[in-house]
């Protein structure tokens, strides 16, 4: 199976793209994914993968959930998420392995179950990866923020932007995309979004995250190497100019070696994600 020309389009996209079905090239692999088998596979392998976690939610807030509860979803009153499904589900793994072989890209996958309309799947946030979503069962409404410059992407001050929006101080409107069974949605890095079940029946979707190295990742790597301190979303921390001067004095200026180290860093991280899954909240 060849998928040439498919992923470059995704890389250059600035907006969500909704389709009634997955692209032709990958449709058989995606449509083979079944909710019930993922649940069974998770039960069979949950102790083998530290990052293959089960997390319960009610209206976006984390709540306790017992593994047994997800066997009887007809009685379940909370949403849940299974992370790193690619580690134990043969159907999902097949798709991820194919993309790795064809495109050299490492994918991670999470599955989301939302029992009914009142149990919001997740509230406003943005992710640091390109995402593809396939609606396995039911319906789900995805909302994105759109302002005069297009869809709102935010990395540095997500909370501030969202607070402004909630206080009606951000000139942005919600653009909604409704996914029904079999729908396929793609969206790029860091678009602010939320998702909600639309109906009374459970809504189930799976999201694939593409962990591609970006200029931002290079920036973070360079910052850590030069400044000698970690950079994990703490963009607003104050920092003295003397610290910068001292760090620059100590830098030897060999960019070839430096860039080689970055390439190795990406390979190490991708290998961790491929074999152990993507730890929650971990970026490249």
């Amino acid at each position: 199976m060849r998928m040439e020309g498919y992923l470059p389009m995704l890389k250059n996209s600035q907006s969500p793209i909704l389709s009634s079905s997955p692209p032709y090239e990958i449709r058989p692999l995606i449509e083979a994914i079944r909710f019930e088998s993922i649940i069974e596979d998770w039960f069979a392998h949950k102790s083998s993968f530290i990052n293959a976690t089960l997390e319960g939610y009610i209206n976006g807030n984390r709540v306790n959930i017992l593994p047994e509860e997800i066997l009887h979803t007809e009685k379940l009153n909370k949403s849940f998420r299974l992370t790193n499904v690619q580690l134990y589900s043969p159907q999902v793994k097949k798709y991820c392995d194919t993309i790795l072989a064809q495109e050299g890209l490492v994918l991670t996958a999470n599955m989301y179950f939302t029992p009914h309309q009142d149990a919001q799947c997740f509230t406003w946030h943005s992710d640091s990866q390109f995402s593809q979503t396939y609606q396995i069962e039911g319906e789900k409404k995805w909302s994105f923020l759109n302002d005069k410059e297009g869809f709102v992407r935010e990395k540095f001050e997500q909370e501030k932007i969202l607070r402004k929006f909630k206080e009606h101080k951000l000139e942005a409107t919600e653009i909604e995309f409704t996914l029904s069974k079999g729908s396929w949605l793609e969206f790029p890095y860091c678009l602010l979004h939320k998702a909600q079940n639309l109906g009374k029946t459970p809504s189930i979707h799976i999201t694939f995250a593409y962990n591609m190295a970006t200029l931002g990742d290079f920036g973070k790597f360079a910052f850590e190497k030069i400044m000698g301190k970690p950079l994990r979303d703490n963009y607003m921390d104050k920092i003295s100019i003397e610290e910068l001067k001292s760090a620059l004095k100590n830098f030897n200026g060999d960019s070839t070696e430096f860039l080689k180290e970055f390439k190795e860093h990406v390979e190490i991280i991708e290998n961790i994600k491929r074999t152990q899954g993507r730890p929650y909240g971990y970026e490249l």
């Binding site: 890095y189 200029l215 290079f218 920092i239 060999d254 860039l259």
Partner: protein, 238 residues
């Protein structure tokens, strides 16, 4: 007046009761009220509107090199105690003009919670609201120094109109340094706009030139001055 630089160095919450701010003390309540547009409870850029504040900010800049942006706040009498904590990524200094305000600082392990974007993810807002709170009541003519990134909320303490000024100094942060390193050091133009751009690492390796450490070091002071001035003109908290 004690130097604001001392407060910044101490980097903790400081009540300032006995200090003398001659310019600010001369501000009249009625002059402040006139600044509020209809229905608004906040006025920004007060240093450009009240001569006394302008004089104070100029003196502070001349004596310490600190650029202050001033905002005037009016809280409705006995405002409901809204515990939506907010974080200002600035050093702030509050001066109470009339009435009393109560400042609430959530405590984590007995210490006022200081937010970085990173820690914000680890400590849920629920935990902040359920935990212990440090309260400071600010009466008329009293002042409070709130260090960078300390989370807090404020409510009116009396039935008289609660009017106070906040003076904020913008700081250089990790984001600014990251931009400097990428744009001036590695020559990646429009770095923030291209932050999410996926790229071919091998191609990038071949194209990127060695950074000029000496030239970049010389640029640091220029970067500092320009960034501070840009932030003063376009404050973060606005």
């Amino acid at each position: 007046m004690k130097d604001l630089r001392d407060f910044k160095k101490q980097d903790i919450l400081i009540e300032i009761e006995a200090l003398h701010f001659p310019e600010i003390e001369a501000i009249l309540f009625d002059d402040c009220l006139k600044l509020f547009p209809q229905g608004e409870l906040k006025v920004t850029g007060v240093q450009n509107q009240l001569p006394e504040v302008k004089q104070f900010c100029r003196r502070v800049y001349a004596e310490t090199g600190i650029l202050l942006n001033c905002t005037l706040h009016l809280l409705p009498p006995l405002d409901s105690n809204d515990l939506n904590y907010r974080t200002h990524f600035q050093h702030r200094f509050v001066y109470q003009i009339s009435g009393s305000s109560k400042w609430h600082f959530p405590l984590i392990d007995g210490i006022p919670y200081r937010e970085s974007s990173n820690r914000a993810k680890l400590v849920s807002k629920l935990k902040l609201n359920d935990g212990q709170v440090l309260e400071k009541v600010l009466d008329s003519a009293n002042a409070l120094f709130i260090p960078y990134a300390l989370s807090c909320t404020v409510s009116a303490e009396t039935n008289t109109p609660c009017l106070f000024l906040t003076f904020a100094e913008e700081e250089i942060n990790v984001r600014d340094i990251l931009n400097f390193l990428m744009e001036d050091f590695f020559g990646i133009k429009d770095f923030e706009a291209r932050f999410f751009e996926a790229f071919d690492q091998s191609e990038f390796l071949q194209q990127t030139q060695s950074p000029n450490v000496e030239a970049s070091t010389i640029k640091v002071d220029d970067f500092y001055t320009k960034t501070k001035m840009a932030k003063f003109k376009h404050p973060q908290g606005k």
